[in-house]
Symmetry: C2
Subunit: 420 residues, 2 copies
């Protein structure tokens, strides 16, 4: 199907995207697990997660869209195409949240895809390929680790048995919580892991301040930056703060402070591309008049360029050792996730559609991870970002505008149709 | 009484100091509150403290030494002199310990003074002035704050009513705990606060590594260094570690790290005299993938020179503000205790006696505070330090040698007699 032939159908579907319907549904889902402080607590496979799934399944059923579920609880909601054998064009995200989460992270990607399916339906457009909404299980990893569990199991990066055996802080396992969720939000049809897709798209709030600061409505996401986590343990010797001369001290805190400074200098780049964070920093015995004997700190280092991620990440241990003073230091790498590059053709398609729709847009690298990371290994994949206020996310104060969300859904509609 | 005339009596009393008696009594007191891991938990005004007082009172009573008690529970044990009106020469320390304390901190000063009284008695020496052992209440400040409570109240630096109203973590007050202690270790005679003394001397383990490192048996303590405490609160903004560019961050941890480095540089001296410790350092939310929004840290800064203590201490707030980056910073001074200088004549006396006894000695400034600090405001005061292994104190691994303890007691005996 050429671009010329689909253009009127695309225009009709885009015009059928309803800002007020999309916004109302955000408000309705925000009621499920509402904390009373503007945010939600709707962690994976809780009764609240089940209720949100039931609500979306209800909207889909009212349209006659068929739902199916895979063994880790990922949901797929299909608007059928002309060809029953054509690979679906899939878009989605997640309904679970952080314990003090916002109303847009994940939810927007789910409701935007549903909005596209309904808008295409309202416009009476017939597609060759089925259009599908995917709802991934446990993206947040707040209750059950790791994050992006559903998409990782779907893609084969995490064994189903391992995921099912994961327990939460109260000893409840994924297997039991999943069974309860699927009982409360039942789906009859089964779907296999790694079923073939034409493409996967995910709409999401940026969760960062870049689009807002640049005055752009759309981020054309070129990929997800790579991430390495380190845990640094510095061991000195506890000593009396009043009686121990400097020359006799092995002060774990001063050593750790030197390490953090040197690591910050290592990661310093003119383009402000590297992300370097020491988020956790704990001192023992943590008493005002005792020289610290132990410090534990974590390093979260991210970069979109795999070469840079490797080179600088590989220097972390040596930099820590070089600034250990008289202390012992252990550097343990706890996570190493290389960058993900999305399909250039999908990026081009998104960018061209944004230009045609007159939406201010820019290329952007995702700082956070998403289910799209695992889909990128299976089929042509891309993401669409819309701004969120001051970049605040994973926070009850998360905000996005109805107009930006609708713009993202209109763009998604055009891209999904142009993939036909 | 001239030096020539007392010399034979001094020699006799010094010769009567018994290393084995002194050591055995350390072992006996160490049984009271023994933790089973080599240390003791004998906090102030507990049944264990009462039992230790009862034991020392028993040894004194067996000699016919008279005991008295003041309203905060400080004990005074007197070997009478020839003149009933002469001001006593007093020496002592404390019997209370840290929750995981050692067997020498405080106890040595008590038992050394008792040993002197007994040795003088054994030698049949008659003094003009009474010789007294003082046992100060709650030096450690572990159960009831502040530290050196008994000597502070004695000296009038802390009101008796305020001390009696102090409660421990379980809500038990000093008044009640003191009454129970005095019931379990009763003393009939009353003593007034601030009664006149000829001089006050205190023997103590160094609690630092200087004497051991220098190969000296005796530290002639010239004073107690001054101490200033600060509490620094740094407020930035929590942000997503993956999505927030460096330029948009207000990272409270990186700001605090810069402050600590700059403060360390400020306090750096060629003579290694200043003591600078950041002992407490707490981060919020302390999550690996969140840019820290808040850091609280403490500064413990000590110096024997009051001018330097004032000058550098007064720069702390400005240095913190200069390194705050985009963060807000509050610097609160929580303690300011100027240096104490002991009486130069007492120091000379101690040094001359150490030289005569052939004891390797050196001048030293006390890094920790002691009851002698308050006595120094009332009468000529001095302290004698003996080494402790690797400077370890406030620790169940605290160690001192029987020979060093006896050497300290012999020196104390000579000094107390020469003050007659």
């Amino acid at each position: 199907m050429t671009l010329e032939r689909v253009a009127p159908a695309v225009a009709a579907a885009v015009a059928a995207v309803k800002e007020d319907r999309l916004w109302r549904r955000h408000l309705q889902i925000a009621e499920i697990g509402a904390t009373g402080r503007g945010g939600v607590n709707r962690q994976a496979l809780t009764p609240e997660d089940a209720e949100a799934r039931r609500r979306v399944l209800g909207w889909a059923a009212a349209r006659g869209f068929e739902a199916s579920v895979d063994p880790i609880g990922n949901l797929f909601i299909r608007r059928a195409g002309r060809s029953p054998t054509a690979r679906p064009i899939v878009s989605g995200s997640h309904l679970d949240t952080q314990p003090t989460g916002g109303n847009f992270d994940g939810v927007f990607g789910v409701l935007a895809a549903l909005e596209v399916l309904e808008a295409v339906d309202d416009a009476g457009v017939e597609t060759v390929h089925p259009l599908e909404l995917a709802i991934w299980t446990n993206e947040e990893g707040a209750r059950f680790q790791p994050t992006t569990m559903g998409s990782a199991v779907f893609a084969g990066a995490l064994a189903l048995a391992a995921a099912l055996a994961t327990v939460d802080a109260h000893g409840v396992g994924v297997e039991q919580a999943l069974a309860q969720t699927l009982k409360a939000a039942p789906v009859v049809n089964r779907r296999a892991f790694r079923f073939p897709m034409t493409a996967y798209l995910e709409a999401h709030i940026e969760q960062g301040p870049v689009l807002e600061a640049a005055g752009k409505t759309i981020g054309v996401v070129s990929g997800i930056q790579g991430l390495r986590w380190f845990r640094v343990e510095v061991t000195g010797e506890e000593a009396h703060a009043g009686t121990t001369p400097r020359a006799r001290r092995r002060d774990a805190l001063l050593a750790a402070v030197d390490m953090v400074r040197a690591l910050r200098d290592l990661m310093l780049d003119a383009t402000d591309t590297a992300r370097f964070t020491v988020g956790r920093f704990e001192v023992r015995p943590n008493s005002p008049n005792t020289v610290p004997g132990q410090v534990l700190f974590t390093i979260d280092f991210r970069h979109p360029d795999g070469t840079v991620l490797s080179r600088l990440g590989d220097e972390v241990a040596a930099v820590c050792r070089a600034h250990a003073g008289g202390c012992a230091v252990d550097v343990i790498e706890t996570l190493n996730s290389p960058p993900t590059e999305f399909d250039p053709r999908i990026c081009e398609l998104i960018q061209a559609a944004a230009a045609r729709q007159g939406l201010p847009h820019m290329r952007i690298v995702s700082g956070a991870t998403h289910d799209a990371k695992y889909m990128a290994g299976l089929c042509p994949t891309g993401m669409i970002f819309v701004p969120c206020e001051r970049g605040i996310s994973h926070n009850e104060g998360e905000r996005a505008s109805a107009a930006d969300l609708a713009a993202g859904a209109r763009l998604l509609a055009e891209v999904m149709l142009r993939l036909n």
